[in-house]
Symmetry: C2
Subunit: 248 residues, 2 copies
DNA sequence: CGCTGACTTGAATCTCTTCAAGACGTGTGG
DNA sequence: CCACACGTCTTGAAGAGATTCAAGTCAGCG
């Protein structure tokens, strides 16, 4: 299904997300769209960035889910975070000499690339765009910090609850979640590798959350029954997401 | 003890660190030094950045140790990482609306500030400097990812061993460590809050490392007796540090 | 000289992991 | 169309790793 440029623009989640941080001018928006090549699709399971490889391009994720991870020699895997519509992929890999982790498409993804080279030009002509990109990277760092907090100092039920609420807020920002539910393409194994738990324990923890009447997962969709209580359980404070949720 | 500008320049750890990534021209180096105000001292225990506050300035850390952390309402604390000579403080806080964690001086620190406003100018006139700054932020992200890996998927002894080796490499880059030892201003409580462990367990783990003949802590100095074996225990791969260690 | 902060150690306890086995749904080839 | 394999989810039981509680040592310091 062919799309015109103005189509991309109207629905572009990157603009939506960056727009939440800075008010970009029409010109800046146009420039940003021009930077990108035509979007293409990556099928689920494919690796977009591979640990140890060299990259000069970065990608904007338009649609779908991806995740960053790394595997120890003995097979233990850690997932660092999930990438959803509006997120940037591979910025770090192209700034550093090599990618130091792997980004894999979790669902079919639509991505658009542009070369880092063009960032130099952008610097000169549209410095605010670079600031916007840095803002995006800064926010990603906040997510990483919060992930450390989750894994380092929270117990299993807090981790899961907190993780779900973070996903809810992030997805809402790009219009991919309802008020209290969203499509969750994760297996329990992925959740385990994200939160530093075993599969079995994730299973038991989900059961507990279900029994408490807080959340349900049905048909790959997460439904939060009581956001207030879940927020209490998780001790969730969305400040770090820097997205003025609610008041928006 | 007064210093001339050329003094700062010669010994400036920021230049040393950024120089490891990009070869900055003389002009770029001079511009970078001009950006900064005169260094001043922050005494140990003082907070440099406070969670929830608004910041427009960023700081270069010239000397000393600081750490980023966050505390849960019930007192559990997580330390996200340590800042040493050459590191940037507060970039994230000034890009986002608020600081989302706290940076505290662990030892007396020497820092120099410059306003984020000037970054716009830098963008136009010296885009490579901004790239260098982004490289620095990217590397910081790598550290955070590795921290997640440590806490999420490694056991206590691996965490401690890996943590020590990371510190060794980072300190060596800015000439603050010998071949196999360095000054370690951390209490066991700080190590515990860094690695997601209890104080007691850190203590036992350090004892184990000592008994294995791998490391010793004497007089606030960490001495690694057998880097090879410690690297094996930790499964340490310095690739993520992006500093071409050894071959340097 | 007594107080405080950091380190140390033992014992009991708990959270989470590991091992094992079964249920369920789905896709595939005979 | 059935049998079988496979991936995911689920649950029980045993065990390991880490925490908590408690108490005691030691050095520095007012």
């Amino acid at each position: 299904m062919p799309r015109t440029r103005s189509d991309w623009k109207r629905m572009n989640p990157i603009l939506r997300k960056l727009g939440a941080a800075l008010d970009l001018t029409k010109e800046e928006q146009a420039y940003l769209l021009d930077l990108q090549g035509a979007p293409h699709t990556v099928t689920a399971g494919r690796q977009i960035v591979v640990e140890g490889e060299i990259y000069d391009d970065i990608y904007f994720l338009h649609d779908g889910w991806a995740f960053r991870s790394k595997v120890l020699p003995d097979g233990r895997r850690q997932i660092f975070g999930y990438l959803i519509a509006g997120d940037v992929i591979g910025l770090r890999a192209s700034l550093l000499d090599f990618a130091d982790d792997t980004v894999e498409a979790l669902t079919d993804c639509t991505i658009a690339s542009f070369s880092l080279e063009r960032l130099y030009d952008a610097c000169r002509h549209h410095p605010r765009l670079v600031i916007a990109l840095m803002w995006s990277a800064a926010r990603e760092q906040s997510l990483l910090s919060e992930q450390i907090m989750r894994i380092g100092r929270r117990n299993a039920i807090e981790r899961v609850a907190h993780f779900f609420l973070e996903l809810l807020s992030r997805l809402q920002l790009v219009d991919e979640a309802g008020r209290r539910s969203f499509g969750l393409p994760l297996t329990q194994e992925l959740i385990a590798d994200t939160l530093g738990l075993s599969i079995v324990h994730v299973n038991r923890t989900l059961r507990k959350l279900r029994q408490l009447g807080l959340v349900d997962i049905e048909d790959g969709r997460l439904v939060i029954h009581d956001i207030g209580r879940l927020t209490d359980v998780a001790d969730f404070d969305p400040l770090y997401l820097d997205q003025a949720s609610g008041a928006d």
